[in-house]
């Protein structure tokens, strides 16, 4: 296992419940268990991807880590510049703010994440201003440098976002995220709103920046081929829980959880000769406000037995670094994607 020196972020038992209020008294009648007992870590300089269907809690997890929303329970340890592990979840807001320069976010939709009334200089320079770089010239130089870093001409600084295409806007969003030299970058579906030809450019840029600046990525995505391309480790989420976590190679080559297998087989492959015998999952994703008993996946699982509907499986390490939460993880042999 990775030794303690390298761990940048460690999340333990993270929970985030949203109350459901009803009636004129706004009584709490239930809880949406958006994130329910999530545990993982990210090493310095690596890319961990969170994948899963919509509503599985990927985005909520990433927002809890940034303390954009407060978690209900759990611990989030982040390695500070002084090399101590701080529990972000327990810190008061005033102490979280300076930490935010170490962790930044890239958003999904480059059309709504940039203020149309601000120039690029204002957009990319805003985090610098907030964190105390008040000198105008200094800020302008830094913005020019950042724009160059993401492959844009510094002369564009005085323009407004409407003058740029989706791919260029996403580059601007990346420049803003990198302004404060963060160590952890949370990328929430950064390429899902882009066309394929532009998507490749942004993926290449993210990989290049990681090598150049030694960044650590928490990559939230639903497109498995993108995830496979960019990440070293993958965590698969289902209804607020991590059902499987392993290296990219193992997740794709030898999955151990039936949900991972189904997810992999449902990705359409861009080759007509591989029209696959797909596993089409029946039914719908479980409701996080009213989850099924036992393993949340059992109503849709083709391998489910009696125990699956009765007991909640615990996450166990089946191989070094390969975590699975499934009662039958040891007996099943599941189909991955053939390595070529």
């Amino acid at each position: 296992m990775a030794n303690m020196e390298q761990i940048l972020l460690e999340v333990k038992g993270l929970q985030k419940f949203f109350p459901i209020r009803r009636g004129i008294l706004q009584r709490v009648v239930g809880q949406v268990r958006a994130v329910d007992d999530v545990t993982f870590h990210i090493n310095q300089g690596e890319t961990l991807s969170l994948v899963g269907e919509s509503g599985c809690g990927k985005t909520t997890t990433s927002r809890c880590i940034l303390r954009a929303i407060d978690p209900t329970a759990g611990e989030i340890y982040f390695r500070t510049d002084a090399c101590e592990m701080l529990n972000i979840a327990a810190l008061p807001e005033s102490r979280v703010q300076p930490l935010r320069r170490c962790m930044q976010m890239i958003f999904q939709d480059p059309f709504s994440s940039l203020n149309p009334r601000m120039t690029l200089l204002d957009i990319v320079g805003e985090p610098l201003l907030v964190h105390g770089m008040t000198d105008h010239q200094e800020r302008q130089d830094r913005v020019a440098e950042l724009l160059q870093l993401v492959g844009m001409r510094p002369e564009y600084m005085q323009r407004f976002p409407h003058a740029f295409s989706g791919g260029q806007r996403q580059r601007i969003g990346i420049a803003r995220a990198l302004a404060l030299n963060p160590r952890l970058v949370v990328a929430d579906e950064p390429v899902s709103a882009l066309d394929v030809s532009v998507q490749a450019q942004i993926l290449n840029l993210l990989l290049k920046l990681q090598d150049q600046l030694g960044l650590t990525y928490l990559f939230v995505a639903h497109d498995l081929s993108v995830v496979k391309h960019i990440s070293e480790r993958v965590a698969v989420m289902y209804v607020g829980r991590i059902v499987e976590m392993a290296t990219t190679e193992e997740i794709f080559g030898a999955p151990r959880h039936p949900y991972t297998e189904a997810l992999l087989s449902s990705v359409p492959k861009p080759d007509p000769r591989l029209r696959s015998q797909r596993i089409v999952l029946e039914g719908e994703v479980a409701d996080p406000a009213n989850p099924p008993s036992g393993c949340y996946f059992h109503p849709r699982c083709r391998y489910a037995t009696d125990i699956c509907s009765e007991e909640t499986p615990v996450q166990e390490e089946v191989e070094t670094g390969h975590y699975v939460a499934c009662h039958r993880a040891h007996e099943l042999s599941l189909r991955g994607i053939a390595r070529q």
Partner: protein
């Protein structure tokens, strides 16, 4: 292969332009293709390539200030007569009879295409009663039957629910039920799975394939997802900036693409089978703004194999490279 069949729908040199104050947007600029009965035609291209406007032109629902300026769309009707759709008035009785009964349409966004103030059932029954002229009671029974066929559980109850009460996958199934309710012979599906998760996408694609087998209808599947095309289509049309740059059988498009754009597009997708973390080949630049399209071949500014002096001045015409595959590119001598 198709030569013995008569195409169900045949589009010839279709041009749909939008006349705006800032200039003319040539959304579709000379598209030519055929859809055969019982087959799936995949139309693929990036945003702004005119895929959706092509579908709207066929149904004659292009929004103002858009207009079909040239070309023919010939539909072979159930009675055996050929109808030239571009000659019909967009509000005429004839085209309204064709919409729904001959050609069904599935939109991308199931949330916005259903009315939020009417139940799903009402909207299906409305379509059935308009086109089939049967009583409300029979229409309701038929609506429930259609909902059952598209795999909606407890259709007797779901029929009285509103669109917002259904999940994304169920909503898209209901949308398909509306489109199929009058047994069209051609189903146009415009990005039917783009807003859905992969697992739900697999369910919907499966459903479309099953419906096609049962009813023998033709599908025109519009998408930007090459994986979906590879999975579903029999023939493929690749569009770029309003033009068809290449068309042919699905196997030829994926295994021996001829146009530099098709090749680049196929190279730039991260495949689930490829080596991770290596740099992806990209297409340089971005799609030109519709107001300033390049002269000559629309792809030449981004093309790695561009021939200076030829590609930037003259417009290529479709050239047959094999019996079934054709490409619009100067690299291939006519």
């Amino acid at each position: 292969m198709h030569s013995e069949h008569k195409p169900l729908l045949s589009v010839r040199n279709l041009k749909t332009y939008f006349f705006q104050d800032e200039g003319t947007v040539k959304a579709v600029d000379g598209a030519t293709f055929d859809v055969y009965p019982g087959k799936t035609l995949g139309v693929v291209g990036e945003s702004g390539c005119g895929k959706s406007v092509t579908a709207q032109s066929i149904l004659r629902i292009v929004d103002q200030p858009g207009r079909i300026v040239e070309g023919e769309i010939v539909l072979c009707c159930a009675k055996g007569t050929d109808v030239e759709l571009t000659k019909l008035h967009p509000n005429s009785k004839e085209i309204r009879a064709i919409r729904g009964t001959e050609i069904g349409l599935v939109f991308q966004e199931p949330m916005t295409s259903f009315s939020p103030v009417h139940t799903v059932g009402n909207q299906i029954i409305e379509a059935i009663r308009l086109h089939c002229g049967i009583s409300e009671r029979e229409a309701r029974a038929k609506a429930i039957e259609t909902l059952r066929q598209v795999g909606i559980p407890k259709p007797e109850r779901r029929i009285d629910e509103y669109a917002f009460e259904l999940s994304g996958g169920l909503r898209q199934r209901a949308m398909i039920a509306v489109a199929l309710s009058c047994d069209p012979r051609l189903l146009i599906a415009d990005e039917p799975t783009t807003a859905l998760d992969v697992t739900t996408q697999a369910q919907i694609l499966d459903l479309l394939r099953r419906m096609q087998e049962q009813r023998g209808m033709a599908i025109m599947l519009i998408t930007h997802n090459l994986g979906v095309i590879a999975e579903m289509a029999d023939d493929v049309v690749v569009m770029y900036l309003g033009r068809v740059v290449e068309q042919g059988p699905v196997d030829a498009i994926f295994h021996s693409p001829k146009h530099p754009y098709t090749k680049a597009l196929l190279r730039s997708i991260p495949s689930i089978e490829s080596t991770p973390r290596v740099e992806l080949p990209t297409i340089s630049g971005s799609i030109p703004h519709p107001y300033n399209r390049p002269s000559g071949c629309p792809f030449f500014p981004r093309c790695p194999e561009c021939i200076p002096g030829t590609c930037d001045t003259a417009e290529p015409t479709p050239i047959a490279v094999s019996e079934e595959q054709s490409v619009s590119c100067f690299l291939y001598p006519s």
